[in-house]
Symmetry: C2
Subunit: 254 residues, 2 copies
């Protein structure tokens, strides 16, 4: 942004909370990853088992990053109440000692059922480099951006329940290698994601006081959509178009 534009943006008056929320919610219909051809193929039953396995293996990298980015978020705030609220996100993914296994473990039930070796999955060695780059860009974003903007980047959860519902229905209907147990991750997220998203939406609306910060929050939601979209793009090229990069997972017989 050049200096002239920057000043111009800075003096624009803030959106009302309602306008601001509409801007945030407006991002989903334009660029959330439920619009991606790979997503449509996945839940439409158009993929073979190897392609679903490639998706699950790559998406593991994303799951694995979530508690790290949420812990990083917590490490950045002096607000104890905010940390007390935020911590359950880490626990949703990591589980709770000694017996609650958590979302990452539920994800590994899915990769198990797809015939993938756990050590191979958790090593992340077979994941596409583009997946890892996108995921780590998200972690760095949360480490480096203003706190309210970092929080806003999780607001793609506003759009998640519908994709999870579609996915559960679509995958159960279309793939004989997928059963109810395996979809446990997504079923749990149906209740977790809206709770998190609502809290964050209120936090962001209350704390982005300038138009510039509000705009940065909307851009953060777009950025996060880019992170999700880029992961599906990489899967598309590698596992639909067949250009699997050196070292990446190759389904049997490919």
């Amino acid at each position: 942004m050049n200096e002239f534009v920057k000043k111009f943006v800075a003096v624009e008056k803030p959106w009302t909370k309602q306008e601001f929320e509409a801007q945030i919610r407006g991002v989903g219909p334009v660029q959330y990853h439920d619009l991606h051809p790979f997503h449509k193929a996945l839940h439409g039953g158009k993929l073979n088992k190897g392609q679903v396995a490639a998706w699950a293996l790559n998406r593991y990298c994303y799951q694995e990053a979530i508690p790290r980015k949420d812990a990083a978020f917590m490490s950045r705030t002096h607000d104890r109440e905010l940390r007390r609220e935020w911590i359950h996100r880490v626990q949703d993914h990591d589980g709770i000692m000694p017996d609650e296994t958590g979302g990452i473990e539920r994800w590994l039930v899915l990769t198990d059922c797809l015939g993938l070796d756990r050590e191979y999955v958790t090593s992340m060695k077979g994941a596409l480099p583009a997946t890892r780059f996108a995921v780590e860009a998200y972690v760095r974003f949360v480490v480096e951006q203003p706190l309210v903007v970092a929080a806003a980047s999780s607001l793609t959860e506003l759009f998640a329940p519908s994709i999870h519902r579609e996915r559960i229905a679509g995958m159960l209907a279309n793939y004989n290698f997928v059963n109810d147990d395996v979809m446990a991750y997504f079923k749990r997220r149906l209740s977790q994601a809206p709770r998190d998203a609502n809290f964050t939406l209120e936090f962001v609306k209350d704390n982005a006081h300038t138009r510039e910060l509000q705009q940065a929050c909307v851009d953060a939601v777009r950025f996060k959509c880019d992170v999700l979209w880029a992961q599906l793009d990489a899967l598309q090229l590698a596992y639909i178009n067949g250009m699997i990069p050196p070292g990446a997972y190759r389904p049997d017989g490919v």
Copy 2:
């Protein structure tokens, strides 16, 4: 370290676990802050209420930093089991939603009883700059050092139970403005600190594989002792010797 010394250290063979543990435990008797004159004065009943208040107000900054540094630690590891174990440290200080208040809240009960305004305490505006610098140096250390070295810096907890026991007994015996409720923070730490310290000690012994890393872990314990000592030095100059810097807390009538 110059290049020659560095190479020399790198080829030294690792200490056995027993030798390594002895090196770590050896730091306490030499430089843990229970040796500091201010600590001796505090638990020996030699301070007036204003001096105890200055200590509690400054020490709040340290308490407040602990969950941030522990969340930062968690954000740095890919090891889910390690995060699952570590998370209770954040909860020990922040408490757990909705009803468990946690160590920082217990600390504020202490500052309440010393007649300090909560907002003033939590703003940290009256704290000595040297306190804030020392505390933030600790947070940065945990963010920046190799993970095992970052973990080792918490091993001053090995030396904490005896100081907490002394402090409970000494403060209850010597100050009529201190009662059992107020000492709740330290009583809780009597059981929390050893559990944490034992876990960390095993983690550090298992994961510092080279002599160089082992040495860095011992140095991390020394560094942490420096962080604690520097806080008492600053209190000594300001509130024993009377050189209170501009802007810092001034007890009534000083």
